[in-house]
């Protein structure tokens, strides 16, 4: 497994694609909860989250620059001390296990819920998906990135065509009056959006693999804006075509909407792109999980843990949730709290600690690692 960033670099274009697929794959499907809370102003929490995600990207960029060439799991002990750093690192690895297994379960729920692979045994779908993602992990981030370079612009094109086709059916007056929900409700509605967009914390695992930190920072911001626009577009289309009531009860909104948009065949294009997008998201999460575990345990050879981790993910994705209802209920009740801690609070705290430790107290952060210029070479 090509875990050590040395020669395995991706460029900003690739990172943008990776992050768009990481964030958009699930967040676009589950906008119902936001519309349920905020109503026709459902696009506002998404816009708000895009702003706060820009802050999270800066935090990850700042921390990454302080510890060039090291991922979150590696610099945690340097910031918090060895014992606390390793403990929080373990927390992140477990969070990634939860996240990856849940995304695999979500993909199965989507495939079955939208009538794709209805007669295929679940275990077969999961095994094929995890085998494909494990192959990506074993080949390294560059291979995952290059594979997606072939697809991600095509995926974006299909989504844009889908949005354009929807325009004729939209009734924009459904969005009025703007801001009726009030700030507190918009904040409440943004909880689930914050959880999904907070997955940008993975930038702290991916920046060491980017050609330069600056490029990674710009790529992440572009991805954040594009995802923001895609989600706002989906919410607006959903509310203006289906209305608030139906939108707030609709799972897999883009697929449901596709039935109302002509030509009806667009649904099959959506299906194809979502299968690729789920592979991308699972591969990326599994890569971060495997790399994180390897870094936490300070392994010299990471290949040996790819298969055991893949088996754990297969088993957990089958055992975590009894059915799709249990999955969505559990995610709605647990994910916002978990995400708040791991995606927002801890990075925020690390940022404050880093500023106090290295800027205000002027402590030397060299720790013997390479500076960015050397590291790039």
């Amino acid at each position: 497994m090509k875990i050590h960033p040395g020669t395995n670099k991706i460029d900003g274009f690739t990172l943008t694609g990776l992050l768009i697929l990481l964030l958009a794959t699930t967040t676009l499907l589950f906008i119902a909860r936001v519309v349920d809370i905020v109503g026709h102003d459902g696009w506002m929490p998404v816009a708000l989250v895009t702003l706060s995600a820009a802050g999270l990207i800066y935090i990850m960029y700042y921390l990454g620059q302080l510890f060039p060439g090291q991922s979150l799991i590696e610099y945690l002990p340097l910031l918090l001390g060895k014992a606390a750093g390793k403990l929080v690192g373990l927390g992140y690895v477990l969070f990634l296990v939860y996240l990856t297994a849940s995304v695999i379960s979500e993909s199965i729920a989507l495939f079955l819920g939208t009538g794709i692979f209805t007669f295929t045994p679940i275990i077969v779908i999961i095994l094929l998906l995890v085998m494909a993602s494990s192959y990506g992990v074993a080949s390294g981030i560059v291979v995952i990135g290059r594979t997606l370079n072939i697809y991600w612009l095509g995926i974006m094109a299909v989504l844009i065509i889908y949005f354009i086709l929807a325009i004729s059916a939209m009734e924009l007056e459904a969005l009025l009056p703007v801001g009726e929900a009030g700030f507190k409700t918009i904040l409440k509605g943004s909880m689930i959006s914050h959880s999904y967009r907070g997955e940008l914390f993975l930038l702290a695992m991916l920046l060491p693999y980017c050609r330069s930190y600056r490029e990674g920072f710009i790529a992440a911001n572009i991805a954040n804006i594009i995802v923001g626009l895609l989600v706002i577009g989906t919410v607006v289309i959903s509310v203006t075509i289906l209305g608030v009531e139906t939108s707030s009860r609709t799972l897999y909104t883009p697929f449901f909407l596709a039935d109302f948009i002509k030509p009806v065949g667009i649904k099959i294009a959506l299906t194809a792109i979502w299968i690729i997008a789920f592979w991308a998201k699972i591969s990326l999460l599994q890569f971060c999980l495997t790399a994180g575990t390897s870094q936490l345990l300070e392994l010299k050879q990471s290949e040996v843990i790819i298969v055991p981790i893949a088996i754990i993910l297969v088993v957990f994705s089958l055992s975590f949730y009894d059915n799709a209802t249990d999955l969505f209920q559990s995610i709605a009740q647990t994910f916002p709290g978990t995400a708040l801690v791991f995606e927002w609070l801890i990075p925020g705290l690390l940022f404050v600690i880093a500023i106090i430790k290295y800027k205000l107290m002027g402590q030397d952060q060299s720790h013997g690692e390479l500076d960015e210029d050397n590291y790039r070479g």
Binding site: L94, V97, Y98, A101, K184, T185, L187, K188, M191, T293, L297, E298, L299, K300, Q301, V304, I305, V307, P308, I309, I311, I312, V314, V315, F316, L318, S319, F320, Y321, S330, Q333, T334, F335, P336, G337, T338, L340, V341
Partner: protein, 75 residues
């Protein structure tokens, strides 16, 4: 099915462990064995239909109240 699963784990151990032990990569050996043990326990549990305590149970116990508190705070 249980036997097939058992065979798969034996095959995996036979594939990875001798090389790791020969090269004296003890840390990797421990990591591989530990992770495989977790995989074995949970996959046998799943096949036998036994509900073992898992990560979601822990997360629900710890973070469900956090989500609830946040929702109440913003209501």
């Amino acid at each position: 099915m249980l036997y097939l699963l058992g065979l798969m784990f034996i095959a995996l151990m036979a594939w990875y462990l001798p090389g790791l032990i020969r090269r004296k990569m003890w840390r990797e050996t421990a990591a591989f064995s530990g992770l495989l043990l977790i995989a074995m326990v949970y996959s046998f549990g799943l096949l036998r239909g036994q509900r073992l305590p898992d990560l979601v149970d822990v997360l629900e116990m710890v973070f469900k109240p956090v989500t609830k508190y946040l929702e109440q705070l913003l209501t």
